[in-house]
Every structure is written in structure tokens, then in C-alpha cells.
Subunit: 372 residues, 4 copies
């Protein structure tokens, strides 16, 4: 596949440009008999939607999703689900400035190098607007997961760092995530970030961020050795989000500095169930889920579209300066939270179906403790 | 594909267990007319081979690679290249200890949960011994890259952190990498690490590490938007290596704390060529290579096989202790260096062929500066 | 991939049901800089469109295709091309008859067996209406082929048998194909078929057919050993068309009765070029194109939707009779001609890009005669 | 994937040349806990093995298969199964004749056109020797099918035509298939063929054939709309066998001449079960299995390696004659019977696992008759 698809059993292909008539995705491999409606998906899109606070781009898009196929009388039929979102606020502005200049940190230069042609309007295909299609697909994945698994997996994300400011993990409260414009689980950090981001915005600068996504109630045994480890597919999924430059599972880079005896998650029995005393490995061992929460973090670089003038060249080989006016997120990491959740749902759904195909089960294939 | 293959145009599938008769890989998609011999591959395998210093496992394997197909009179024929490495030092030891116990931090528990059966001898398929096949495949990828591209890409790796001890980047010297048993580019750090690792080993503990792989002379435009970004595929590739828990490209997690104007790599002309003033993005923009060095780092957790006793359970639901005797690497990160290099070569080779398929070119499809 | 996609380098995924709001496809892997407009595609769709003579279904669809992505200022950009065709004439008729009954020869029973649910309106996903999306995709493939190859491949199809009546090959005239409502290359056969099909239609019966598709100007060397032979992919492509039950390449089944010395295509030099004296192998040898015309034939079974009552059962386990009224093609083989052409174009385009990826060439990789 | 692999859930990749050291395959996606030994596979290989009668090539190969991975203590572990067969009777003969000449009907010319290089020894990768690996993989697929399904599918093949001589279907007796050197289900036809083939052989000619493969006890609902229909994948599978030029399902090409009311398979209830009165569609409807026997036929062209001299050219552009001496099958169709069976098993196994992945079931997902 040429690169715009993800997943092997639950495969979605996205299409569309930032300023084209519409964008969307086709999901091939949706199990049949899953209740699904546009209302099931719209909530997730609304969470990602631009223009909801002064901290995100002011582009106005309702991001209304339509289901064009694969659902009949409220149930999926097992055939491809096509989802479409029409673009509504493509401004017919003058693009002459970015038409010829390569904005530092953007894909302008590399798309031209790859294809010899590019749709420069709003970043074209490289725009983060593409992630709306992922979030829609993620909504379908969530429906599948909750229908097939009991208890249903709980997939939640949060912003844990903005610019240099990290949350205090002692303050973590999932209920706070929806109560501030930053998806912060730490109410206090949200206040700090508000001030910080106002300053960044006024300075014409931008801020990076770190997002954490956690999936609970994931059965043990998902993932495929060796190359399609759950870790590898999560890494690929998260790294495919615009502006992401780092991914870690569990302790991640901190594991490098931890002694082996501290990093290995010890086990005890709790009633009949084997239980881990810690979750340094972030819910995966050997690339397979362990039954513990799957914990994934990713770093989002600061938005490259800033008004502070930067040195660059244009496609005529002239040295120029560029200052990106337009409507942009001062911290794209914020809206990456629902995207990260969607990617987690998509990876888990894909692996659940793959696991079922090979083993016939949705969780551990045999009780681990059936022999003596 | 069920998970033991990697790559879409240059696709390799690995097979084999730690204590089976042999392991190897099949590479489908090798371009024809590439000079290739076993000698071309053996050097890379020797770099990864165990037992070369007191800092790696004492298992004795010559890791001699045989080419079983796809090469005729010294040239690849375009048909699948099968590579085989026979296991030589599988000890017929008593596995009764780890046969039933789940070693903390290992894949023992999750493999059993997934499959209901497992080859417990030396970790079976989850053993890092599988990486020998990757290194062999990576050797083929290197041959392809150097035949197709001029100048040939230069792919090199180094250990940049062991346990809590990082190198001093001011001391970076590629020539040092082959001069110490740690692939350290910093001679001084190598000394520190030697002492540190001796202590770790004596204590029956283990150490994590961070590896950095750099590819130079990579043309601009490789990678596929949106899901098969060069970054995403590198993240997947590196995260698929045993014990890896984090991956970053360029500045990685540090980018989150950097202001936008500092992180965006500005451009100037140097003669006729557009040039970047910095490489914070690690050689990729929008998921495509920019022509700058591709820089990837990954974190390796400390080996889970340690002699310090750890609490665990066995498959009969009994709470037990386990202490892994065997022959193990106190720091698996060391031997991950040649594996990381191999994965970089494999990702680049795969994307080079994919790029050629879609665009007909091996680098930028048109001069970026042909218009005025 | 779960089954609604085709092609590895030029990958298209179709979606949509017969009576849903729309149908379409996403093509991932279109090379950049190919001139493409909706007008380039509409002509092919018009050839397949229903309701153009009394010999095809009277459903009225303009089959107007829209390009939703992947084209900018008249050129493909290398990003996914999404094509959409809105359904216009879904009759809100009473489906109660076929809602519960399994029409003999249809997919009604098997879709229910597979999914436990089905969209019974007009056959849902199993309707031949899906082939409109293929024809649109095939139009894109033709544009790519004609831009990349010179001379451009010439891909044409014809009906060579209707019911028991075959054409006389001595009468073959490509110009006749567009001059009768049957795509017959034999004007005389077209007259016979007209009478025959009128009779079939009046009797409430239906007729099968055989379609032949020929591709000229195809370079030697396309196709991939061993499983993705050009023959295998053509067989798969044609057999995936609704109602197709047989495929042959070149002499096909007749080869079984031919002595070896007659079947092997001998070669001579014509000027500097090696030339074949016959084309019994239909343009392929060892699964790779030989440079001769690629010749593929496929058998289409008679439409299962007939008004003659047939015995069946319903989903409540009752024995019933069914007579399909609706609007149906008395010979679906007719409209399968443009679909077969499209599939030929799609297979060749996919293999052209794959060949280029592996070898760097669009035709023979080296002159076959450069040595002495 | 570049072409040497088949299957999406049960994926096998073959490697090896006719005169290399060995050939084999890797199967990725084998379900765990399937009893498997080399003895389970050897019988199928013996049926295909050369040199068993005067009607097949006299090359002496024991075709002894070794399992190199994926099996532990007699059970599959869910990890890749690598199978290897060492070549034993590669004659170090003088290949100078076929080294430079393009044998008519062979892949000599097209492989050189594709790759610019070829392993001419015994046909290299294009040799039917590759099919030994398929038969081995097919043996694994049979084990999986019989473990997962009850009753186990019964997959059998037979030769139904040799040269111009067809069997009399009234004489069909499966027990005869193993009782003659032609896999003929008609004892009388076997006698005719013996005489016929002796004559062909003495004349230095060769004969084509038609093979029929039937799979019984296949549950309803296997196959994936639209492109991965069970029919399409069977067509691809069979057409990928060396020398195959035509494939049909059920009535195949004969359906084109059959009136719709005769071709549609009517249904009645037999007890609680819906039953078909005929099987004109060969066990598939809409690309999905119907529960009836899956019936597939394929045409094998006469061996191109004949001693009757033929006109050709060499790679220096000289017009020459060629007469293939070597050891060859006068009718390759005979040994294609076990290969066709293997491909049927492989397709069914792959689709069984895919079906289970999407629907969670191994057969019809819900009783078709659960409502009223």
C-alpha cells in the first residue's frame, strides 16, 4: 500500500486536502452487526474540532461527518464504511506568499522534492486537517472495541507537558481533562499553560507539547511478534500524527537509566489472577499486551507556522524571509490529544481482529493457569 | 501479513527460534543485478555477534550466514533471497526453572496468554537472537542502497547513553565507535561505562541504554505521506527491536520544550543548493526526508534476565521467586547498535524502492529550482 | 487488506452499496504530475452506464463522477485520488419480496451466512453497480499508462459470445465494437444477438456471455513471479467481476488439447527485434509480459435475476418461489466489457509501477541483445 | 509484497531455484496449538515428487521436508513455520545450449527482459520445482483446516483431460485417482492416456491437461467481497501454477451458454437445512462459499520443453533452433494435481482465518433461520 492506509484487519485509508472540497476515509474490515450512527462519531470530532478556544486555530469547520456506506438499518454490514467531512471554511485567500516559499519546519520543501508538484493551499495533504478523518475512523474503532470486549476498553488521553511546563502527576484527575481547553489532567498546570500560551501567541511564537494516551481494560495477548508488536504499531501510529517527533511506551526513555531489578514488573497473585506490582513496561511485554493499562506518550514539536520572521529560500533559489500569518494553532499538541486517542483505538481494534483471526479468541487463548 | 515481515517493496520475513536448528529470513523484492556475496553480509553479523567481550552474553555462535537463493554468479536475480544462520550453541540445559515461571519483564507471560503454548527454550521466538536475521537482511539493504545511490548512504550507529551515563557530545568521534566494546563515540564515556557495567554485572543487575543511528547522503523526498512517513516507519522499525521502549527523531522529546522559532530549521542557499542551517527535525519534514542526515534515537530497557531474585508467579498460579542464571547480556543496548543500523538501512531501502515505483526517481523528482 | 481493495502499488479501494447515497473509490499510489480531470473519466463511465439500450437495465443513473482529492490545477499530486458517484435512481420500492427470500444464483444467502446481516436493497454491496467505481479507477489507470508509456497501451474489449452464439473471428473489426449495443466486433453476430436477446428477455430468462480484452503496446517484463504473475492478477481481477465464472489467457483451455510443438510460440528476428510468430500464450510467458498483445477472456454467467419463477427458501426456513421483477440486465456480460477493460488497465498500471520500483525501468531493463 | 508470497492471514512466501542448494517457504500466520510434524507433510510431497513413473521427469529428488521453526513439542507455536527441501539431483551438466537461447514457450526471454539477468540452470526460479514448496505449505494448511473445522474439509484433485482426451464423468471414482499414474478418476481414461502419452513422448512432443480440484465440507460464508472473492483468490492461486492458462469455477465457460433459469441453483429445505438442488456455481455465490462443494478446474498447457526442434533466437540476436533435451515431464498437468489441491487448501485456510478475524466465526455467523 502506498502510504495513506493503516491497519491490516481493520484497514482505513484517508484522503483529502486541507482546502479541497472534502476529506474522509474508507474503513475496510469493520465487523458486521456493530451498531453505528453518525451521532456515535460526531462527539469525537467535536473534541478535535478547531476554533473552540482562543488557543486553537480560528478556522471555522463544523466537521460534520456523513456515513456513505457500510451501515444498514443502524448496523454495520461488514462492507466498507466510507466517512466524509466536507470542508466549509477554505478561505479563498491569496496564497502567493507560501506558494513559492518553503516555510521552515514545514513539508513544503519535501513534498516538492518528492512529487515535483504540490497543493500549497493550507498545506494540502500535509495539513493536520487530515487528522479529522482519523478521529472519525477512531470513533468506529471504539464502537467495535466496546461491542466485542467486556468490559469495554477505556481509552483516554491528556496533555502532560506544554513547552517546558510539565504537569504534576500527583494532581492527575481525569475529570479535569474536559474542564480546561488544554486536555490537562492537572488543573493547576492548565492555569500555568494558559498564561504561558498567551505569551507565546502574543510573541508570534509557538509551543511544543507531550501527550499521554492510556488504554485500560485491554486483554492480554494482543500484538504480533516480531515486527507488528503492539509497541511498534503504536509507535508508527503516533509518529504518523503531524509534528510528532518522539514516542515512548511505559517508562520509555527513563527506562534506560533504571536498574534491571527496578524496571522489571514483578508479579503476585490477587485471588486467582496474576497481577503486576508495577507497570514500568506500559502494558506490553515482548510486544504483546499484558493486561495492564497500555501507556503511550508522544512529543509534538512546536507549530512551524509562526509570525516571527524566519529565513528561508523560495523555489526560484532566492533567499527570502517568511512569516506565516493565516489561522494556526499556537500549540498543535492540544488538538493532538483526541487524535492520539483515536490512533490508540485504531491500533487496538486492528490487533484485536488480527488476534481473533489467528487464535479464535478476543483475549488470552487459554487460561494461563489451567495445569498442575 | 501476520507480523513477522517488514517492508512493502523490499520485504523481509524472519523465522526461527533461539534454540531451534536455525534462523533466517527471506527477502522478497531485492532489485536485480546487485553484486552480493556471503562475505558482504558476514561483517555486519560479526559486529552483532555474541561473546566478543565480557560485556555481552557468552553464548558462542559463529553466526555464519548462507545465501540459499536469489543470487546467481555473484549477482542478485530479482528473486527472493533466503538467508540462513544455523544455531550452534543451543545448550541442552535443564529449562525446568523458566519452563513454568514467568520471568518479570519478559515475554513469557504474554506469549502464553496469546498462544496458549510457548517455546520456552531461551525465550524462543522472543529472543534477541532473532535480530541476527535482521542484521543479515540489513546487509543486503546496504548493498542495494550503495549500488543505487551515489554517493552511497553512510549509516552508522553509536551508544549515547548507558544506564544513567550519557556521552559528552563534544567528544563525538565516529572513529572511536569501533575502538571500544560499547560502540561509544566518546572514548571517555566508554571508560566510565566499563566500570559501571562491571559493577552492574557483579551485582547481578542490568543496565539500559540509548542508541543513536544516523544516515547521511540520503536524498530528499523519501517516505510516504501520511501513515508511512519515514519517521513512522523508523519508529516502528526501532520499536520492534527487543527491549526498545522509546524512539525519537531529531530533537525528539526535547522539541516539546523548544520555542517554534528555534525549532524550525531555517534555510539558505549554498551555491545552487538549498541548505538547512540546523537539523532539529532530524532529516525529515512532513514525514519525508529533507536531504539532511536522518537522525534516530531509541531507548533500550535494562535486560530482564538478571540474577537478583524477583517475585513472580508460575503457570500453576503459585507465587514464586525467579533468578535468571543462563548466559545473558548485562546491557542489551550494546548489541542493539548494529541492529538499529540494520533497521535504518532496511527502512531506507524499502522507501527508496517505493519512491522509485511511484515517481520513477531515486531522489528529488524534479530540480526544486527549475522555474522562474 | 480485508477484500475491497486491489493493487499493491496503484491501490484502489471501492465502497458503496447499490441503494446507498453514493459509491466510489480511493486510489492510493497515483504517480504525481499526471494530467487528470473528471472529463477524462466520464467517457469510460458512460460506456458502462445503464439504460443506454433496451438490452440493459432501465435504471437511470447519470453516473457523474467527482474528483474529491489528489488533483491540483489539473495535475495529480501523488496523494490519494477519491472518486465519488452519487446514486440518483434508488427506487424506494417495496423490497419485502427479496428481503427474506434467497434468490437462486445470488449472493443473498451467502452474505447472510457470512455476516448475519445484509443490505438487501438492490443487492447492496454485491450489486454490479460497484463496477462503476472500478471503471472510474480504470480511467485513472489509463491516464497513468498513457503518460508513462510511449506508445501508449491500447486496451480494448469486445463481446465474443452471447448465450450459445459466438462471433466469427474472421469478421473481427474493432470499429464495429462501438457501433452496436453489444460491444460486438462482428456486425453479423450483433444482429443474431439482438434477435436472440429479445427472445430471452421476452421469455423472462437471461443469457451468459464471454468477453475478450486485449492490451496492445505493453512492454515486456511486467508481472512478478511467482504468485503475482500478470496472468494470476488478471485472473483475480476478472474473476472479481460480478457473475464471472471462468478466465483464460491466450489459448486458455484450448491449450490443453494442443501439442507442445504447436502451442509454443516460436521466435524470429525482425530487424533488430526478437519477434514471436504466434501468440498462443496471450502475451505472457512465465507470468511476465512478452511484449505481445495481452489477451484475456472471461465467462459471465446468465443474470440470476429472472422473471421465470424459481424454487428457493426464505430465511424463516420456508420453501417458496421467487420471481425477480425489478430492473435488470438480461445479459450482464454486455456491460462487463468496459469493466473488463478497466480491470486490464488497473492490473497493468499496478504492475508497471511495481516493475519500476524493483528495476527502475518501465520496460525491459536491459536490451536483451547487448552482448556477443 | 513483491510477488513471491500468497495469502493475507495465512501468508506463505516461497524461495529457491531449481538448481540452487535448497528451496522452501516461510508460513507466517499459522494458528497455535496445531499438531504438526514432518511426517504430516511428507505424504503430500511424495505425491508430487518426480520420477515415480515413466510419465514424469526422471530427476531424482527425495523431496524430504524439514521444519526449521514454529513447532515445539509437536505443536505449532503461532510463530513462523519455515520449511526447507534440499535439492539433491542438480546435474552439473553443460547448460551452454539454453544459457543463451530463449526456449519457445518458456520464461527465458521474459525473465531476461524483466531483470536483465537470469539463473538459466533448469529454469531457475521459473521452474515447476518451486511447487514443492507450495505442496509443503499446503500440507500445513490442511492440518489447520482439519483441526479447526469439523467435519474436516476433504480436498481432492483429479486429472479430467489429457491432450484432447477427456474422462467420462459417468465413470468418476475417487478411489481410482491413486490407482494410476495420472490421478485419473476414470480407470478407462487412464488406459487411453497411457497409450497417448507414450506416443507423445516418443514423438518428442508434449501434452496439455485439465485438472479439477474439489473441496467438500467447506462452511458457508468464506471469501471476501469484492476483490478477494473466494473465486478470485482461487483463480489467482491456480493461475500462478506453472503453465496454467485457464481457470473456471463450477460450470465455468459452459455457463455462458446456459439459460439463466437452468444455471441458477434452486434451493429446498432438507430437514432444517437449506439445500441446493444443483451446484452449477461450484460452491460460491457472490464470491462467498455457499456450503456446497467448491469446484475449480484449470487448464495446463503442454510442456514447452520438447525435443522436437523449434525456431527461436538467442540473446545475441541470432536466429537459431532449440531442442530441449534434459529431463522433463511430457505432461506437466499430471503433477499439477497435488499442486492444485495444495493451492485449494491454502486459499481456504487463508479465508477461514480472515473470516474468523472479521466475524469471530469459522462458519455461518448466525443461524440463517433464527427469525420468524
Amino acid at each position: 500500500m502506498p502510504g495513506n492506509a493503516f491497519g491490516q484487519a481493520f484497514t482505513f485509508t484517508t484522503w483529502g486536502e486541507s482546502h479541497g472540497p472534502a476529506l474522509g476515509c474508507v474503513i475496510d474490515g469493520v465487523p458486521p452487526q456493530i451498531p453505528l450512527s453518525e451521532a456515535d462519531l460526531q462527539g469525537w470530532l467535536d473534541a478535535r474540532k478547531p476554533g473552540q478556544s482562543r488557543y486553537t486555530t480560528q478556522r471555522r469547520e463544523s466537521d460534520t461527518v456523513r456515513i456513505l456506506s457500510g451501515v444498514f438499518e443502524g448496523l454495520t454490514t461488514g462492507t466498507p464504511v466510507c466517512l466524509m467531512i466536507e470542508n466549509e471554511d477554505q478561505r479563498s485567500k491569496d496564497y502567493s506568499d507560501i506558494k513559492d516559499k518553503f516555510r521552515p519546519g514545514h513539508a513544503d520543501y519535501t513534498y516538492l522534492a518528492k512529487y515535483g508538484v504540490r497543493d500549497y493551499r493550507g498545506g494540502g495533504r500535509s495539513s493536520a486537517r487530515e487528522t479529522a478523518a482519523r478521529v472519525a475512523a477512531g470513533g468506529v474503532a471504539r464502537r467495535v472495541l466496546e461491542q466485542l470486549l467486556s468490559p469495554a476498553p477505556l481509552i483516554r488521553g491528556a496533555l502532560v507537558q506544554m513547552g517546558p511546563h510539565r504537569i504534576d502527576r500527583a494532581n492527575w484527575d481525569w475529570d479535569q481533562v474536559g474542564a480546561n481547553p488544554f486536555f490537562s489532567p492537572d488543573a493547576k498546570a492548565a492555569e500555568t499553560w494558559a498564561d504561558y500560551l498567551d505569551g507565546v501567541r502574543k510573541a508570534g511564537s509557538s509551543a511544543g507539547a507531550v501527550v499521554e494516551v492510556v488504554a485500560e481494560n485491554v486483554p492480554a495477548g494482543l500484538g504480533e511478534p516480531v515486527y507488528d508488536k503492539i509497541d511498534s504499531d503504536l509507535a508508527k501510529a503516533m509518529m504518523s500524527i503531524n509534528a510528532v517527533k518522539g514516542v515512548e511506551i511505559g517508562n520509555g526513555f527513563a527506562a534506560a537509566a533504571t536498574p534491571g531489578e527496578d524496571n522489571a514488573d514483578q508479579m503476585r497473585m490477587v485471588g486467582d489472577a496474576p497481577t503486576f506490582l508495577t507497570n514500568n513496561n506500559g502494558g506490553t511485554l515482548g510486544g504483546l499486551t499484558s493486561g495492564q493499562p497500555v501507556v503511550c506518550r508522544f512529543a509534538v514539536k512546536p507549530t512551524s507556522s509562526i509570525t516571527i520572521p524566519r529565513q528561508t529560500v523560495d523555489r526560484f533559489g532566492q533567499e527570502v524571509e517568511v512569516s506565516t500569518k493565516g489561522r494556526h494553532d499556537p500549540c498543535v499538541g492540544i488538538r493532538a490529544v483526541p487524535v492520539g486517542e483515536a490512533m490508540m483505538a485504531l491500533v487496538l481494534c486492528d490487533h484485536l481482529l488480527r488476534h481473533r483471526g489467528q487464535t479464535g479468541a478476543l483475549g488470552p487463548v487459554t487460561p494461563a493457569f489451567d495445569e498442575n
